[in-house]
Symmetry: D3
Subunit: 270 residues, 6 copies
C-alpha cells in the first residue's frame, strides 16, 4: 500500500513532476519560480525515501520470514505449500516478486503505472497553485489513512514526517495564492486577465438547481457577494434553457457512410 | 481543438464525472450533496453542447466546402488532389473522418481518450472542493485561450457562455470552501481531523530552500502566521538532513536472482 | 468485484457513454436518436445504483465489522494485527480505503480506470447497434457470473434487476437491427451503401482454412447462401496467396540512420 | 491514416488478437475453435500487408520525393526550409520519422498505441461472435472511408481486398450466430443458460422513455414479440422509480477522514 | 502470476510483436529479416502455450476443487461462504472469473492490459537487437523467479522449456550483435553512421560524478579505452556547467493568459 | 518534435527515471549504485535543458512571428485568418497553446503522455544495464534523426551535446556489462545464477527455422560456439513439435456460463 503515496495519482511523484515542470516553464516573477523549484527538489527526496522504505519492507517479506507460519496455516494447506501462498497471504503485489525483484516500482497500490497526465503546468500561476494545494491535500489525506493502517513504528515515523511536510506545503500554496491576489498577477476568476466583459454576463453568478430538491439553496454559494467581489449569487430553483436549439444535425458527406436522416433504398445505392 | 474542452483532462467530461461520483459517494451534510449533484447534472448538458457544436462544425468541413479552394492550393499540388489533403490542410484529426464519421469523440485535441483518472472523489469534501476549483480554473483558462483562436461568431458565443459558467463555478467552489471552514467539517490542513499532535511537528511550518538562490525568501510563504492559523513560517536557507540514513539496502531471497552485494563466482552457483 | 459492472470495459459506464455519444452525434431518423437517448439516460441511473451499492458495502467492511473475527485468525497472527490484514482478508481493493475513502470508483475489479476507448459511436447506426448488442451481452454475462458469487440478498436483488434490463436491451438492439434492414438505411454488409462492385469480388464469399484440420468445414459458414443474401459460401481447404509479393522493402533516406540492405563500411561513413 | 486499419481500435490487430485468444480459450465444439483459428491466422497476414504497405509509402515520402515542390511552397517560406516542413506539409506523423525510421507502427492514425483492451474473449461464443461481427463492421466502415481518401491505385487495390474479406467475415460471423442458435449452445439473451426465472421479470421487456419526446415509440422495439421469442415489448411513456431508495449513505470509519454527515467542531477533534 | 510472462511488459507477447514488426519493417540484409521472422513466428507458439496453460489451471480452480477445503477455513467463516472467498483465498484475479470465464487474458499479473508501447522497431538493427537481448534477459529473469514460485510439475516443465529458449534467444541476439559489427552495418555508438565529428566532442568520453561520493571511479567505465575503440574514459569528480545559461524565459503572447514576469494590475486588464 | 526526446518512450525522462529507480533499489556492489545515481542525476538536467529549449521555441512561435506571413498564405485564405491556421501551419501541437500555454509538456511528439512503464528496474544489474544501453542507443538514434530535421543553430548545438552524452553513456553501459562479467556477479544468460541444469537442455542452443526460406542459416547465430561459452549453435531447418499436446481444454464450472463442448438444449437449462 505504500506504493500509493509513491507512484499513485496523488503520490510524491505527482508532486515532484508538476513542480519541476511548473518551475522550468515559469515565466512569472522570479520568486515564484525559485519557490516552486525548492519544493520540486525536496520532493525528489520524498520519492527516494518511499522507494527505500518499500525496498526494505520487501527484504524479508513475505518469502522468508513468514514462511514457517504460513506453511502451517489453513490457507497454506489449500494452496499446497509454495511461495505463491506467501505472496497471497501477505497481500503482496506479485510484480514486487516477478518484475522488480523486491524493489519499489513507479506504480500505485494496485500496480497501475504512474503517468504524466498527473503533471499539471498550465503557465498560469494561480491555476497551478490551486492544483498544488489540491495535490498536497489529497496526498496528506491518503498518508493519514495509511498512518492508521500500520503498526510498524518505523513506517509510522516516516509517515508522520510526510504528513508534516504536507501541512507545510498546503500552507505554503495557500500563502502563494494570497500573494498572487495581493500583487495582482492573478485573481479569481482564473484567468483574471480575460476580460469579463466578453463572457456571457447573464449567467456568471447564477446558481442552477438541476437535481431534485433544493437543499442546495442553504449554502454560502446561493446568496451574498461572490468570492471574486464582482457579483451577487442568485439562486434559480427552476432554471430554463436559454436557447431553443434542440441539437439537430444535418447530413454529412455520403462518402463517410454514416446513416442518413432519410433512408436510401439499397437498389439505389450502386 | 474544441475536443480539448470536451474530452481533455480539464474538459467538461472531467467536471461532469467527478461531480457525479462526489455526489453519489457523498456522506457529508445533504446541502453539499445536493449542490454537487446540481453541478454534475448541469455539466452533462455542457458535454452535449460541445458534442453538438463539434458535430456541426464537421458537417461541411473539410471534405466538401473547402474542396475547391484546397484543390488549387500549392499543398494540393504536392499531395495529389484527394481528400487527404483537405483533412491535412484543415488540421483535422483524421479520426473525425475515419472513426466517428464527422461526430464528436470523447477525446482531447490530440486524440488521446478521456480516462477516469480525471475523476477525483476522495470522500473528503474540502480535498475535493479544492480539486473542483482547480478544474474550473484550468477549464476556464483553456476555453479563454480557445476564444482567441476562432473568428466564428457562433463558436465564440458558446465559449462566452462556458467561460461565464466557469466564473460561476469557481466562485461557487470557493464559497463552498468558506462554508466548510465556517461550519467546521473541514479546515486547513486537509484532513483537518487527523490530530496534528501525531505529525512530525519539527518540520510542519519550515520552508526549505532546496535550489540555488534565495528569491524564494521574498514571498508570503516564508514568514508570518501560516494560513491555517496554527503556526509561523520559518525560512531555512540551508536545510540539513534530519537523519543520517544513507538508504543502503540488504540482500533479498536469492531465489529472486537479484544482483547480490558481494559477487558469487559462477562456479559456485550450481 | 462490483466495480466490474460499474467501471469495467463492459460495465454500465460503457453502456451509458456510447449511447450518449451515439445519440448526440446521431444524424439518422429521429426515432433512432430518441430511442438511443432513452437508453443512455436510463444507464446514468444504473451507474448511480451500482455506485451507491458499492459505497454501502464499504460502509462497515472490512475495517470494523470483521475486525474481531480476523484479529483472531491465523492470517491475523502472521500479519500482526493492523487494518492491513482486514483489507487483505476481505480481498478489498486498497484504493477503496486509500483513494476513495469507502466510495465507489470509476474503475474495474482490478482497479484499472475506465477510459473512453470503450465508447463507440461511428456515425453508422447498424455498426453501432451491433456494438450495443455486444455490450449488453457481455454485460449480462458478467452480471450473471457475479450473481453466483454472492449470497447477499440485497445485492442479488439489484443484480436480478440489471440482468432483466440487459435482457430488454439485447432484445431492443436486435429489434433495432431488424428495423434498419426492413427500412433500408443499413443492411449487411456494413456499410451497406459502399458499392460492392468496388470490392475485390473474388474473395468476398470464400472461407479460407488457415489452420490445421478442417473441422471448420462443418459449420453454416462454409456452404449455402450467405446471410446478406448476395453470395454463396465457398470453402477453400488449401487457400493460396493471390499475389507473389514477398513484401521486400527498399532503402529509405540515409538521414534516418536505418540499417541499409547493403552494409556500408564505417570508414566510408564520415 | 493507414495506421488506423493497422493499429487502431477496429484495425486488423484488433481482429487478429481477439480471434487468437478466443480460439486458444475455446471450450466449445471443435468446429467453432477451428473456424476461429482460421480467421485469426488469416488476420496475421492482414496485419503484415498493412505494415508492408505503410513501410513502402514511407520510403520516399515526404523527405525526398516532395522536397523540391515543398521547398518552393509558401509554407516552406514560413518554416525555413528544413525537413520539418516536409513532414508537416505531408501530414505525416512525426513518429514515423523519429521513432520507427519509416516503418509501420502498432498505433492508430493519431499515434495512440494499440492495447489489449481491444481483445475480447469471454468464454461465451455468442457474446464473442457478436463482438466479432461488430469488429468486422466497424473495420469495413473505416476501410470504406479510407478508400475514398486516396487516389493511389495500389492502395485502393489493397483496400478493395480488405473490404471484400470484411464482407466475408461479417457474413461468416452472422452464420456462426445462426448456427449457435440452431444447435442450442447459445441463444438470446446471452448468456442463455442463466435461468430467466431468476431475473427481475417485471422489467425484462419494458421500454422506458427516459428522454424528451416519444418518437422512440415508433420503432420495432416498442411493440410486438421480442426477438428472443420469450416476451412482448411494452412501451412506458412515463416510467416511474420502482424503489423509494434515495441513495443516502451512512458514516464510515472515522479513521478514513471522510467528511461526516454531522460536523465535528475542530476543538473536539484531538 | 503466469499472466506476467504472457501479457506483461516482458512477457511473450512483448517478444512476439517486436519481432514481427522488426521483421516486416526490415530493410537490412535478408538473413537478418529471415532470422527475426523465425523468432517472431516461434513466439506466437509461446503465447499459445501460456494461454493454454492458464486456461487449464483455471479449469478447476478455485471454484470447485478447493470448495470444500475453503468452506471450512477460518477465512471462509469471515466471508460468509460464497465463491468470492474462494477467488480471494486462491489469490485469483477476479477478471478471470468475471471477464474471461476461466480463459487467459492479454494482461499482466495485476490485470494491466498489454499495450503496443512494448513493441520496439526502430529501423536500426543494432538498436533493436539490444532491445531484444534486454527483453530475453528480463523475460528469463521473470520466468526463473516464477519457477521457484510453484510446485506443480507440469508448470515447472513448461517453464524449464521457456527458460531454455530464452537462453537460446539471448545467445542468438548477442551473436547477431557481433555479426552486425563484424560486417559493418552497425557498430557502437548507435547509430554508427551519424558522423561523430558533428557531436560535441568535448563531452563524448567524460564520466561526470553527479552524486555524493566517488565509488563510481572504481569501475571499468571511469578509465581506459572506451568499448567503441574511439576514445578514453575521463573521470570528472566535480563536473562544472559548460554554459552559463540559467534558463530564464521571456513573456509569451498575452492571449494565452499565462502569468507575466511583471504583474499587471487588474484595473488595467480590461 | 523536440517533445520526443523529452517525454517520448526513449526520451530523457525515460533515462532519468529508470536510473533513479535502479539506483534507489540497488543491492549490488556500491560502485554500481554510485555510478547509476551519477547518470540519473545528470539526466534530470537533460530534461531541464529540453524543457527550457521547448519553452523558448514556443515564445514567438507560431502565434506572433509568423502571423504576417501565414495570414497572406493560401492556407490562411482557406481557414479564415485566425490563430488556428498559424498553429496548423506550424505543425504545432494544439496542446502547447491550450494546455501548457507555451510551456514544455511531459509527453511525446504526438502528445501521448509519458508513463512509468518506460521505467525498468528489475533488481538484476546485467538485465538492467542491457536495458540502459538500449535506451541510450534508441535515444541517440532519435536525436540524430532530429539533428537533420532542423536548421536552427542553437537547437543543433544542444542536440550535438546530447548525442555526445549518449555516446558516453552507451560506452559506459557496455563497460559496466564487461565489468559484471569480469567480476562474476552476472553473466550471460541472465540471470546467470539460475542453475542451467534445471532448464530444458534439449532446446537451449537450437536455432529453429520457423518461417519460409533459410537465409537465417547464414548468420553467426546458426553455427559455432554460443556467446555464453556454454554451447554450440545447432540449426534446425524443419523443427518439429516436441509434444503432441493439441491444447484441448475441458469444461469449467457451469456457473461461469461459458459455451460448453457439448450443447445443452435450452429446455434443459432451467
Amino acid at each position: 500500500m505504500l506504493q500509493e503515496p509513491l507512484g499513485g495519482q496523488w503520490g510524491e511523484m505527482s508532486v515532484m513532476m508538476p513542480h519541476l515542470f511548473q518551475g522550468w516553464n515559469c515565466r512569472g516573477p522570479q520568486k515564484y519560480k525559485d519557490m516552486i523549484m525548492d519544493i520540486g527538489t525536496e520532493e525528489i527526496a520524498h520519492v527516494e525515501m518511499l522507494a527505500t522504505m518499500i525496498a526494505r519492507l520487501l527484504e524479508n517479506s513475505p518469502v522468508e520470514a513468514q514462511e514457517d507460519a504460513a506453511r502451517n496455516s489453513v490457507v497454506g494447506a489449500v494452496l499446497g505449500g509454495s511461495w505463491v501462498e506467501d505472496v497471497i497471504v501477505a497481500g503482496m503485489n506479485p510484480q514486487h516478486a516477478l518484475v522488480s525483484g523486491s524493489g519499489a516500482m513507479p506504480a500505485d497500490s494496485v500496480g497501475y503505472p504512474w503517468n504524466a497526465k498527473y503533471t499539471i503546468a498550465s503557465g498560469n500561476l494561480l491555476a497551478d497553485f490551486r492544483f498544488n494545494v489540491t495535490a498536497e491535500g489529497q496526498g496528506r489525506l491518503q498518508v493519514s489513512r495509511l498512518f492508521n493502517l500500520t503498526n510498524d513504528p518505523g513506517v509510522k515515523r516516516m509517515l508522520a514526517f510526510m504528513i508534516a511536510r504536507d501541512t507545510m506545503h498546503q500552507n505554503q500554496c495557500l500563502a502563494a495564492i494570497e500573494e498572487t491576489a495581493a500583487n495582482g498577477p492573478e485573481e479569481t476568476p482564473v484567468p483574471s486577465n480575460f476580460p469579463q466583459s466578453l463572457e456571457d454576463g447573464r449567467v456568471s453568478y447564477q446558481f442552477w438547481n438541476c437535481s431534485e430538491d433544493t437543499e442546495s439553496s442553504e449554502g454560502r454559494w446561493s446568496a451574498g457577494t461572490t468570492p471574486d467581489g464582482e457579483g451577487t449569487f442568485e439562486y434559480l430553483a427552476s432554471p430554463q434553457p436559454i436557447s431553443s436549439d434542440e441539437g439537430q444535425l444535418n447530413a454529412v458527406d455520403p462518402r463517410l457512410y454514416g446513416t442518413p436522416t432519410h433512408p436510401v433504398p439499397k437498389t439505389a445505392k450502386e
